[in-house]
């Protein structure tokens, strides 16, 4: 604080020092209502600015979501809202004005810097300081400062923000193709996460039930963690199913019995090769000594360069059939070493093989095997749940358009099966269990389908799976997989015995040697065998996801 000391001024300390604190307190008391209002004003300003920015971002997000599928839109908007709330709270805390700021704001109300000067002179005892303080107090004492200060609010910005926000919210509720796609993706993601969670829970349940070593648990946890991560990153059903198949295969590799199967198979494959007979026999007997001896003989043959081409070919063929990666790799190393005549490498591979075979723990193998099988089943179940929609479309081979869906199967002509529930296709033709069997059953005849599979149609009523309200028309993208010769079109009439219902029609035809009233008889096995054969040929030639192939083959196996 600078005062020109042009003339002498008195430094009267008596009773003045007490005045200092009074002045400071008095000034703080005066500016308190202004401080509050300045705080509110600053917070309002920041809030309105933040609100405008949030509205603009929401509008951009909503607009983008209208045209491009954006998953979890409401989550993003909620996050935005939450972020804004945090911002408001932080603003309230940090925008609290200092005394200086409040004093400046008060002076601007027409007090001509009296308060700031008094504040700076609050510790001064001079005549001039006292006079100035008195002047300030006299000026302020009758003023109601709180009423003098008017909070300024940028209503234009606020209204703009509100307007933009309303448009953004409105846009969110307007449906569009992109939103439909996004909701499907969300549903898919949810399903994938549920399946991942259920697999995780299944793993924990199995840990409790089975006695699995801690080391093995660690291996399983590591493997499963990566696999489930990969699964969660799936963008499409196909990818998810593929990742589940990969997971299943990886879990299968943990099954020690898997290795046993491989060794049995290896033994069987090598038995026909003279140079490998000893090894084959040792593997069949599961005798480590014999195995080691047989491996030594092979090493001798490599050293003497007496291992013939046929033997190597047999080893290669056997190696390709191994499901265990580790075993397959060791055999490959051995074969390479044999080809190159590298005895040391061959010995190393042989030692590793011997050590791998001898380190199998029979005591825990059953637990691990049970775990592996249970997890594989769980994974299969997840596959089925995830692929229900895909399979229904593929198996039915129909496009779904409209809520009822028009089937694109061949019309049944000539002597045909009855309409109605029975006599349609194979099986009992009744859907409703949502299973593959029902789906295939329906697809075998003149079917009708909805968007999701697992339908049964009885006398025109349709029951269908919960599809989360997605009822938009959807064109099927799949062609018919199989048009069996016994269905519709120009084919030889085939008859399946069924119970005649109250509705529908039936026809009969004389067949030599057979009673033909009310339909005829064709061996069921003939029909199913034909189906199976056609299905096998078709899935080998067409581009179908592997897990679906598996499921189809399982289906026919179960029928058999």
């Amino acid at each position: 604080m600078k005062i020109y000391k042009g003339g002498a001024f008195s430094m009267d300390y008596s009773n003045e020092m007490q005045g200092h604190k009074m002045t400071e307190k008095t000034i703080k008391k005066f500016i308190r209502p202004i401080k509050r209002k300045v705080h509110i004003e600053a917070v309002l300003k920041m809030m309105i600015n933040g609100f405008l920015i949030v509205s603009i971002i929401s509008l951009i997000l909503s607009t983008v979501a209208y045209f491009i599928p954006v998953i979890y839109l409401w989550r993003w908007l909620s996050l935005l809202g939450f972020g804004y709330s945090i911002y408001v709270i932080v603003t309230i805390i940090i925008m609290y004005p200092s005394n200086q700021k409040a004093i400046k704001a008060t002076d601007h109300l027409g007090f001509h810097e009296r308060i700031i000067t008094a504040w700076e002179l609050r510790k001064e005892c001079s005549k001039e300081a006292r006079l100035q303080r008195e002047d300030m107090l006299n000026t302020l004492k009758n003023e109601r400062l709180g009423k003098l200060y008017k909070i300024k609010c940028n209503y234009k910005k606020l209204l703009t923000g509100l307007f933009i926000g309303m448009i953004a919210i409105g846009l969110v509720f307007i449906p569009s193709d992109a939103k439909y796609e996004a909701s499907k993706k969300e549903l898919f993601k949810k399903q994938v996460e549920e399946q991942a969670l259920s697999l995780e829970e299944e793993k924990e349940r199995l840990y409790e039930e089975l006695k699995i070593e801690e080391e093995e648990k660690q291996i399983i946890d590591e493997k499963l963690k990566d696999l489930l991560e990969q699964l969660k990153q799936s963008q499409t059903e196909e990818e998810a199913l593929k990742n589940l198949v990969i997971a299943k295969n990886e879990i299968k590799k943990l099954d020690p019995l898997n290795l046993d199967n491989d060794l049995n198979q290896l033994g069987n494959s090598l038995g026909e090769t003279p140079q490998l007979e000893a090894l084959a026999s040792a593997l069949e007997n599961k005798n480590m000594e014999q195995i080691d001896k047989a491996l030594e003989e092979i090493l001798e043959a490599i050293e003497n360069n007496t291992l013939d081409e046929a033997t190597l070919e047999a080893l290669e063929e056997a190696m390709e059939q191994m499901s265990s990666e580790a075993l397959s790799e060791l055999l490959d190393e051995l074969i390479e070493a044999a080809k190159n005549g590298d005895l040391e490498a061959a010995k190393a591979s042989s030692d590793k093989l011997s050590s791998m075979l001898s380190s199998k723990q029979p005591s825990t193998s059953s637990e691990m095997s049970a775990f592996s099988n249970a997890m594989q089943s769980a994974i299969c179940s997840s596959c089925q749940q995830l692929s229900t929609e895909s399979i229904s479309q593929l198996a039915l081979g129909q496009s779904a358009s409209g809520e009822n869906g028009e089937g694109s199967g061949l019309p049944i002509t000539g002597s045909s099966q009855g309409d109605g529930n029975n006599g349609k296709g194979q099986g009992d033709g009744s859907g409703g269990n949502g299973g593959n069997q029902a789906i295939a059953g329906n697809g075998a005849g003149e079917g009708s389908t909805n968007e999701d599979g697992g339908y049964s149609e009885e006398n025109g009523t349709v029951s269908h799976n919960n599809n989360n309200g997605l009822t938009e028309n959807k064109e099927g993208e799949y062609e018919a997989l199989y048009q069996p010769e016994h269905l519709g079109g120009s084919s030889n009439p085939t008859f399946v015995q069924g119970d005649k219902g109250d509705t529908g029609t039936s026809s009969w035809q004389n067949v030599d040697g057979m009673p033909i009233e009310n339909g005829g008889l064709v061996p069921y096995t003939e029909i199913s065998a034909n189906y199976k054969e056609q299905a096998t040929q078709t899935i080998q030639t067409m581009d179908i996801p592997p897990v679906m192939k598996q499921i189809i083959m399982n289906y026919f196996s179960n029928i058999d």
Partner: protein, 320 residues
């Protein structure tokens, strides 16, 4: 009564008395009093016949001070102003004969008509309040005020004041043509049979006392900083200089300008009944202080940009 309080009372008395004899020109009178109480010199610019001389003479009488008028002409010599040594036959020695500058209030009429040499004779008087002649320095009476006048329209044959001398004037005040009603009052007052008598309201000692008291008016740091920013921003090479300064000003105000603003702002605050300087005081005093200190370039002349408008833009660009 406290000395600070005396300032506003005295200023009011002077203003009231002078206003009885100078019709209108309220702002001119107020600023003249401010400059007087701040101890500065004034440069008055206005066309002839607006009452500049009358103002100075009235002021001198009201203040109870001695007043002299010097009509500057091209043939005026420095000695005519300061005085000279005259040979005294009686004593046989040279005696210094004081010039018209030895008074309390000097009216240097049409100062720009005298030669630069003669003009510079006023320099010492204005700044140092002394006159040096014949190797001897003679102090001038206190309080001392130089009021110089300039005619803005007849520039032929004149010698513009050098910047150094311009800087010694605390204020440059423009004398405006009076309004019609004011003109009527002027005519009524001055063409009648009698004029009211001028009352003396103060004396030299009181003025000196008040001048000293005015220097103690406190100023908040923010206000001082604001004044410094304004002065610094008058220089086009400064970062904070606004675009208008960079475009139209050749050279800005010196530190004397900053001193002048603060000194006069103190007096103004007291006259307004306050015991502290406000931003408003700084803004109000910026005009008379900077008017003659900003050297405009050719762009300003060709664009007919007035210095007051430049000062307005400058003030608007500086934040408090």
């Amino acid at each position: 009564m406290e000395q600070l309080e005396k300032v506003s009372v005295l200023a009011k008395k002077i203003e009231n008395e002078v206003s009885k004899h100078i019709i209108g020109q309220k702002q001119l009178i107020e600023e003249t009093i401010i400059c007087l109480l701040a101890g500065g010199n004034i440069l008055l610019e206005g066309v002839p016949g607006l009452g500049k001389t009358r103002l100075v003479s009235t002021l001198g009488k009201v203040l109870g001070l001695d007043y002299k008028r010097i009509q500057f002409t091209p043939d005026l010599m420095p000695a005519d102003i300061t005085g000279t040594n005259i040979y005294k036959k009686e004593t046989g020695a040279f005696e210094f004969q004081k010039g018209p500058v030895f008074t309390n209030i000097v009216l240097a009429d049409e100062i720009n008509r005298a030669t630069p040499k003669t003009q510079s004779a006023m320099l010492e008087a204005m700044q140092e309040k002394t006159i040096t002649a014949g190797g001897q320095t003679y102090p001038l009476d206190k309080p001392y005020l130089v009021m110089a006048t300039q005619n803005p329209i007849e520039q032929e044959g004149t010698y513009p004041l050098p910047e150094a001398q311009m800087d010694r004037f605390m204020f440059k005040l423009n004398v405006e043509f009076p309004k019609v009603d004011e003109l009527l009052k002027i005519v009524t007052l001055t063409t009648g049979t009698s004029e009211p008598e001028i009352q003396v309201v103060t004396n030299a000692d009181e003025i000196i006392e008040v001048q000293n008291a005015a220097k103690t008016v406190p100023a908040a740091d923010a206000v001082l900083k604001y004044a410094m920013n304004i002065v610094a921003a008058t220089h086009p090479d400064q970062e904070m200089a606004p675009a208008v300064i960079k475009q139209y000003v050749r050279c800005g105000a010196s530190p004397r300008g900053a001193q002048a603003i603060i000194m006069t702002a103190r007096v103004r605050a007291l006259m307004k009944g306050r015991f502290n300087i406000a931003f408003e005081d700084v803004r109000a005093m910026a005009y008379p202080v900077l008017r003659h200190r900003l050297l405009l370039n050719f762009d300003a002349i060709s664009d007919r940009k007035s210095v007051d408008s430049i000062i307005t833009d400058l003030i608007n660009s500086i934040e408090e």
